[in-house]
């Protein structure tokens, strides 16, 4: 059914990202860069996980390459990737017309709503390791899930007030859908303006998919991964222990205290866990215990972050 997509020229992968980020920038969002530590989702970036805590309003958008080792398919599955690109949006507090804005953003990407079937189907996202959960929908476009739309209720084990609206787009899915490409690797990433050459997704990402999959399923050194986990965890716990002394710190020490550094160690633990899991190194029952350890780190960071913020504002007053 090639005719359908070629009638209106579908946007390239790169144009879709431009269009969407510009759409949200025009509506007040700060465009942040993707976080540069391995994360499994845009939610795990501190630009979401920590910024949704506390009272400060936030309007922020960023693309976020998201690594999920267990989803690796050596570049052979046309629909599943080791690392996919989310477009993450946080609106805190959520505007009254957030759903209408979302639908407009789809139109900005060239989706004519009159030619498609859009449904908001119940899907309540949760991230137990982060003590986070919300209420919301998966947005279905002609049977394909393209967006997770969530009103966060809790994060880091704490009730949120104000809450935020989180909108997470799956960019590969959207591009593959709009371009009607049989495989993600056929998706046109960009068209060189001078030569007209089409640069495909495969050209940019296939090698990564092949090699990351091989690393996580076949090459990753399990004892060394456990050691990494242990070391990151220990260091994170030490920092969290020291964070208990906020009351005794002067302003400079308090401002500089590396809660964000502790969070990065926790993120490392989470990624190493995902690698161990993909490698088949964690049994079903062991899993519960390891996740509890990581949860303790992540929630500990969230609480330290909140405490740091409170300590700083009470110093100011």
């Amino acid at each position: 059914m090639q005719g359908i997509a070629s009638e209106k020229k579908a946007l390239t992968f790169q144009e879709l990202v431009f269009r969407l980020t510009k759409f949200w920038a025009d509506r007040g969002c700060v465009l942040q860069q993707p976080y540069d530590v391995e994360v499994g989702a845009g939610t795990m970036s501190p630009d979401t996980f920590l910024r949704v805590l506390g009272p400060k309003p936030v309007r922020i958008a960023y693309t976020q390459p998201s690594r999920r080792p267990a989803d690796g398919r050596y570049g052979e599955n046309p629909n599943r990737l080791y690392r996919h690109t989310q477009l993450q949006l946080i609106l805190k507090p959520p505007p009254e017309n957030i759903q209408e804005l979302y639908l407009e953003s789809l139109q900005a990407m060239g989706i004519d709503l009159r030619e498609h079937d859009i449904k908001f189907e119940e899907d309540n996202w949760e991230w137990p390791v982060g003590g986070a959960w919300g209420v919301g929908w998966q947005v279905m476009l002609d049977g394909l899930e393209i967006t997770q739309f969530t009103y966060f209720q809790q994060c880091g084990g704490m009730d949120l007030d104000p809450i935020c609206g989180e909108i997470t787009y799956g960019m590969e899915r959207i591009a593959q859908f709009l371009q009607d490409a049989p495989s993600i690797y056929d998706v046109v990433w960009a068209v060189e303006p001078d030569t007209g050459r089409k640069v495909t997704y495969g050209e940019i990402q296939l090698a990564g998919e092949q090699q990351w999959s091989a690393y996580s399923f076949d090459y990753a050194d399990v004892p060394k991964l456990w050691e990494h986990l242990r070391l990151y965890e220990a260091e994170c716990l030490e920092l969290l222990e020291r964070a208990k002394g906020f009351g005794e710190m002067d302003r400079l020490a308090l401002t500089r205290f590396p809660v964000l550094g502790a969070y990065e160690l926790a993120l490392k633990c989470s990624h190493v866990f995902n690698l161990l899991d993909a490698r088949g190194a964690i049994s079903v029952t062991e899993r519960v215990g390891v996740m509890a350890r990581i949860r303790a780190l992540v929630i500990g960071v969230a609480k330290a972050y909140a405490a740091q913020g409170e300590a700083l504002s009470s110093m100011a007053s």
Partner: protein, 701 residues
């Protein structure tokens, strides 16, 4: 009198919650209006809903509450007036009644003259009452999951509230809730109508106004439209040269899509016939559970088509786009499934047994390989017992099935579609040419999934299912991980319920004691399991068999080991309990038990078969004779589980029993006479007790 309309507009409500909330809103609104004397009982009311709104229409609402007149009595006239002047008491009463002192009346009572007054509670305007009461009713609606969204978290509701409409006649009623105030503007279909408000001129115009705005607010009309569209599109999609296509009925899915749409239409799509050889279980799980598609069949067999219900209507071009998108998604999912089906079978189930060493069942209980070995052993014991009791079964097939039952946990298909575990194992077993009884047993091993679900179809399947569940229960109990009041994380109750149901409805000659015995060598654990099973048998008799609480108690007191026997006894007791004869005998039985208990308390030992010199009272001899006459027949009936005739025999003893108690004193001063009478009673009680402890049966009066 005027028509009334209320609508609350929301962001998309979960489909599973809408029907319950729609009903609750209607009931609350009507109850509130009745309570506030604004409608009469039985007033006409109708409710509406879509994913984005709940609404209620009520036919005749008064514009104002009627005044309420209440006759009040005050203090005695004696103390109300002093020298003709009203006292403080009179004034206080006048104030309480809301009237002038001069308007007070007097009334004669037996105790003398008292002050009286007619208090008039002025009726309030309906609009005022409704504005005050509606927010409370809205706040009270039950939601399985709700959320906060406004700063300060002032209220919880299922989703953010977007608008309110409230009309009494043609006037708006200013109901406020969640930061919104009601007006007369609703909203139409997001895409087909757009953001323009939809004014509702009068309550009766609600439905038509929304229809014009491409919203079908009446749920049953929408459901009907969906069903008709499914019929129509399926017919139109077939070719006249072939047998007709039919869509596969699925009431649950029809319900879901009804609650996912405001303006439904249906599109049929297709998939590659190369996927049809895949098992139907897999194809249908993907279509129904993952994509909410209806399956299509031709001559009862799955055809390479599906139906999807859209929340929009569009032209042929739009439909082509939507069809193509859905086909692509389904193709991708089926491709994965086909890949798994083929890739998984490169390693046949027999070669996966070793892989189970690496799959942990439970930390202390070891791997699934260890579990499978235990289950094999339990199954073997139970099979041997069953065979000894003449059950027909294929022990070799059972053993194979037990060995292979869990191997599907290592397959990609089960990792992707976890809900298909067991069934996928059975399908792979069949595809890999294992004997049919082996495949069927593996397929059914997790049944029954609940009280409504069927049990395994074959004896081997039943034994495998029982053995697997019993092993899990024994293992967890051994670790002290029994279920508590509110927590049962390993679903042990469900497992035990399954064992009871299989024994009740299958043909296996096994008791709960046999199962516990085979599952563990630890005496403490075995006892705990038996108690647990008895509890589950009680649950089964009450919930699945609908037996009354006292019947269940009585029947289980006589034995909670043989499930089918307990069921038969319960049914017999229930059948007979209504009869007068039975009630009388049951009462007599209680009496006998009490007497025997008294005797035991007094330390009196009963010696059976001890003859005594002296007269035997006529009624005593008649009772003994009557009991002796039915004795053999009773035993024969009981042995064949024919408890209704057995109970009828007992009921037939009513005459002799009544006569005996009327004329005879059991606790005769003569020890020998007393002993003979107690022995007679003890014999009767012992015999009847085999059916049930009749003293537990509640009789009227």
């Amino acid at each position: 009198m005027a028509e009334f309309l209320f609508e609350i507009g929301l962001e998309e409500v979960p489909a599973r919650m809408i029907a319950g909330a729609e009903k609750e809103l209607r009931e609350r609104v009507v109850a509130m209006l009745e309570r506030e004397r604004l409608v009469r009982a039985g007033v006409a009311a109708k409710s509406f809903s879509t994913p984005r709104r709940l609404a209620v229409w009520v036919g005749e609402v008064a514009a104002r509450q009627a005044d309420v007149r209440e006759e009040m009595t005050g203090p005695a006239v004696k103390i109300a007036y002093k020298d003709g002047v009203p006292t403080a008491a009179a004034q206080a009463f006048a104030k309480k009644a809301g009237v002038e002192v001069s308007a007070l009346k007097t009334v004669q009572t037996p105790k003398g003259e008292y002050l009286a007054a007619t208090a008039v509670k002025a009726g309030r305007a309906a609009a005022e009452v409704i504005a005050e009461e509606m927010p409370k009713e809205l706040a009270g609606i039950y939601w399985a999951k709700n959320m906060v969204w406004r700063a300060g978290r002032p209220e919880r509701f299922v989703r953010p509230v977007k608008w309110l409409v409230c009309l009494l006649g043609n006037d708006t009623v200013p109901v406020s809730f969640a930061g919104k105030t009601a007006g007369r503007e609703s909203r139409g279909h997001r895409v087909l109508h757009g953001d323009e408000p939809v004014p509702i001129v009068a309550p009766g115009e609600y439905e038509p106004a929304l229809m014009t705005a491409k919203v079908m607010a009446d749920v049953e009309a929408r459901r009907h439209k969906i069903r008709k569209a499914l019929d129509h599109v399926t017919r139109a999609g077939g070719r006249t040269s072939e047998p007709a296509l039919r869509w596969r009925e699925d009431h649950g899915l029809v319900d879901t899509v009804t609650h996912l749409t405001e303006w439904p239409t249906v599109v049929m799509g297709g998939f590659e016939p190369e996927f049809l050889p895949l098992p139907e279980e897999v194809l249908v799980t993907v279509m129904r559970d993952h994509q909410k598609y209806f399956a299509v069949e031709r001559d009862g067999k799955l055809a390479a088509h599906f139906l999807t219900v859209l929340n929009t209507e569009t032209d042929a071009k739009g439909e082509a786009v939507i069809r193509h998108g859905n086909e692509k998604v389904l193709h991708a999912r089926f491709t994965d499934a086909k890949f798994f089906w083929e890739f998984d079978q490169r390693v046949p189930l027999t070669e996966r047994v070793a892989l189970l060493e690496k799959v942990t069942f439970q930390k202390e209980l070891g791997s699934y390989a260890a579990k499978s070995e235990r289950v094999r052993a339990v199954a073997k014991k139970l099979a041997e017992k069953s065979a000894k009791r003449s059950a027909k079964l294929d022990a070799a097939a059972l053993d194979d099935a037990a060995r292979l039952a869990k191997t599907d946990l290592t397959t990609d298909m089960v990792k992707e579609f976890t809900e298909l575990q067991g069934e996928v194992g059975g399908l792979y077993a069949r595809a890999q040419r294992h004997a049919e009884p082996v495949a069927a047993a593996i397929y059914d091993q997790y049944r029954p999934a609940g009280m409504e679900d069927r049990i395994p179809r074959t004896a081997e399947g039943q034994l495998l299912a029982i053995s697997d569940k019993a092993d899990t229960i024994a293992g967890m109990f051994g670790l002290g991980l029994e279920p508590t009041g509110s927590k049962d994380p390993f679903a042990l109750r469900r497992a035990a319920n399954g064992i009871v149901k299989i024994l009740a409805e299958g043909g296996l000659p096994l008791t709960l004691g046999d199962v516990a015995d085979a599952a563990t060598a630890d005496e403490k654990v075995r006892v705990k399991m038996e108690v647990f099973f008895a509890e589950r048998l009680e649950f089964y008799l009450r919930e699945a068999k609908g037996q009354a609480y006292d019947v269940v108690k009585a029947v289980l007191a006589a034995g909670a080991n043989d499930v089918r026997d307990a069921v038969a006894r319960a049914e017999a007791v229930t059948a007979v309990r209504g009869s007068e004869d039975f009630a009388a005998v049951s009462a007599a039985f209680k009496r006998m038990k009490n007497i025997l208990a008294q005797a035991a308390e007094k330390g009196i030992k009963i010696e059976h078969g001890k003859a005594h010199a002296g007269e035997v009272h006529a009624t005593q001899r008649q009772l003994a004779d009557a009991a002796g006459k039915i004795g053999a027949q009773f035993k024969a009936n009981a042995a064949r589980h024919e408890y209704v005739p057995a109970m009828e025999l007992i009921a037939g003893l009513r005459g002799p029993v009544d006569a005996f108690f009327d004329q005879v004193m059991v606790m005769d001063p003569d020890a020998a006479v007393r002993n003979a009478r107690l022995a007679l009673l003890a014999g009767l009680v012992e015999t009847f007790s085999k059916i049930a402890d009749f003293s537990e049966i509640v009789t009227a009066g």
